[in-house]
Symmetry: C2
Subunit: 217 residues, 2 copies
Amino acid sequence: MPENTNHSDEFTPRQQAVLESALGLLVAGGEKALTTAGVARAASCSKESLYKWFGDREGLLAAMISYQASKVRTFTDDGAAMDAQRYRAYLLAFAKDLLNVLAGDVSLALNRLAIGQASQEGNSLAQLLIERGRKRIDQRAGALLEAGKRRGLIHYDDRDDTYHVLYGLIVRDLHVRMLLGDAGARQPEQFEELAEAAVAKFFALYAAREEERVAGV
Amino acid sequence: MPENTNHSDEFTPRQQAVLESALGLLVAGGEKALTTAGVARAASCSKESLYKWFGDREGLLAAMISYQASKVRTFTDDGAAMDAQRYRAYLLAFAKDLLNVLAGDVSLALNRLAIGQASQEGNSLAQLLIERGRKRIDQRAGALLEAGKRRGLIHYDDRDDTYHVLYGLIVRDLHVRMLLGDAGARQPEQFEELAEAAVAKFFALYAAREEERVAGV
DNA sequence: TCAGAACCGTACCGTACGGTACTGTAAAGA
DNA sequence: TCTTTACAGTACCGTACGGTACGGTTCTGA
């Protein structure tokens, strides 16, 4: 058994290399450029092997999504003490990470791919993207929010609703605009500033008031 | 000259009927289903006419976007007196309209189309969608914000930034999830509630404090 | 050393689609 | 009535792509 990277062992190293090639093609030229012959040429493998490994073109696309999805770290509450200052830093890091993930070449390409297919019947690709990609981020954020509530730093009733507000404050309309290729939306040098503004507003809305923080309510 | 509807007179009635057919096909089956032969059949016109009117397939797609874009009403400040109550209602209406527009069949289909094309070179379609569709909404919101500031109801420094915060509070991640076909995101019966929550938070962040409102600063 | 598996490269097939050309026809205008 | 324009309908062409088949090569294990 070959050494395992942090990627899932769902694919052999050779297959992973092929998937990496395919992702490169997708990023470079969009779905139109992702032909089976093109992938085979770029990855120096035969079309026959592609069909053997992934079934058909759809299977290849699904494999690309599954493969890529294994690159998001997740936050787990270690129970350590945390003051408001430190918690704010965590939220800030989450916000910056989120913006950077969404602005990534591969993320944008895969989201474009899935969205392009979402209209026709059996939008399994989009479903897969939501399941494998989106939900991990949701989990990390959820854990972060709960950690803050547990320590009395923030206050909320509905965790998911609160998360969506945080998401909206951070991402605004940037994701869709990036997906549309609007260059004005994709400026990573502004992400720091955007993240800080978002976190500040989030605290303005959800920071526990003094008496709550003391009482732990 | 035929009677002018509120649509642009960029296209003849016959052409508008064809574009309507094409939009129907796009909504029903996504881009894959939008073949020139299919449009011709659905609209009972010849392919030759299609190419005469719109140049090529790309031109047809652009025409569909241009044609569809002319269905957003815009807010203009009539200078009338407006109290906080009334202003809040305006914002609420904007929020609900925004959610309903974004959740519309045709809007989703066109955004999917443009995003699907955004990766390959010359993403003119996406650019067109931003220019013709997005910017109108931006204008309406901008006017709304300025009206509120002029009357001392809200306070902000950067209008566009403030608008983007409002947008994020309203839309959250719903647009992308709707584009991905996530049924959980597309529930118009919840839009009222979402709009109210967003407007409430917006006021929490931007409502002018009493002394400002009086001083008009 | 031999058998078999895995796999690359390429040739091949069928089909679907963008785009063009041609024919027939109905309306408009002189 | 003749001519021109606009258009529907259809046939046609070239190409690109998904998917399959096959020959040749390398690697593995007995």
